[in-house]
């Protein structure tokens, strides 16, 4: 037998179906190949445990609740994918997934989200400068203070001139690259079996 769908006992098949439906839900954010690999690995492990335990509920309890161990695995894989592809959609998935892995995940995701918001703001300022140079840029006011204007100029003199837009885009690109690389390498793994995990021994 290589899959749980071949199980002869309808009760065991139902228990496996319910368990792996939960597994599927957690693996949904992963690319298909990656999700399939994790699922197949868990299926084989569960079938080995079933052969050992003789009861589906005991076997699946030994494997543990998917909610307890899959979010960390999924978030880590998504962060790694984002740090390799740099695709904004991958970055967004990684942030969303990491935010669901506990307090450390929420904090890191919030900080990363703030950083990406700054990068987005730099892009907006660069574009705004191209369409409204008089009111967007870095201005020195008459009292000597610097003022970063977006659609607003309090009467200061333009400090960076035509360099403002390229610099804004460069800052955005650097911020995006650094944040994405750092976010892909951050580790906030809980000790195994922590939190809601049932101890079986």
């Amino acid at each position: 037998m290589t899959t749980w769908t071949d199980l002869a006992d309808p009760g065991a098949r139902a228990a496996f179906a319910a368990y792996f439906a939960r597994v599927e839900r957690h693996l949904a954010p992963l690319p298909d190949a990656s999700a399939r690999e994790v699922r197949e690995e868990l299926e084989l492990h569960a079938l080995d445990l079933l052969a050992e335990e003789g009861r589906a509920d005991a076997a699946l309890a030994r494997l543990g609740a998917p909610e307890d161990f899959l979010p960390d695995l999924v978030a880590e894989r998504l962060r790694l994918r984002a740090s390799k592809s740099f695709a904004p959609s991958h970055v967004f998935s990684a942030i969303a997934s990491s935010a669901r892995t506990g307090l450390a995940g929420i904090i890191v995701s919030t900080l990363a989200g703030f950083g990406y918001a700054l990068a987005a703001l730099a892009v907006v300022m660069g574009i705004a400068r191209l369409v409204a140079a008089e009111t967007t840029g870095l201005f020195r006011l008459q009292d000597g203070r610097l003022f970063l204007g977006l659609g607003e100029n309090l009467g200061g003199s333009d400090v960076l001139g035509v360099w403002f837009a390229p610099l804004a885009f460069a800052v955005a690109a650097c911020l995006y690259l650094i944040l994405t690389l750092a976010f892909g390498r951050v580790k906030f793994r809980k000790p195994p079996g922590e939190d809601k995990a049932n101890m079986t021994g």
Binding site: V38, R62, A65, R189, A197, M199, T200
Partner: protein, 111 residues
Amino acid sequence: MMDETLKDLEKRWRKSVLPLAVLAVLGKGPSHGYGLAVALREVLGAATPEGTLYPLLNGFERDGLAVAEWTIPESGPARKTYALTAEGRAVLSEASAQWSQMSLNLGKLLS
């Protein structure tokens, strides 16, 4: 009350030693997830749900301590098998030395 405290302490030891134990099992030779779990049970008991091994193995892969490949055994389905890399072996060696020293020091304290 004392029993609960002792159980809690034991759970904590087992959890914290799990990464080193996984490295040690892989140090003996490549293994798939279930094989690892069986080997760990002999040493640590059924301390944690076995699914928690997978985030740990995923982290080892990510950090370059282990590599995984699907292998086809003589009988049965293909399995994802994990093996230590040279870096993983170096970490295991260093961590083993640290553990031995800590165990020795703790033994002196407890005697």
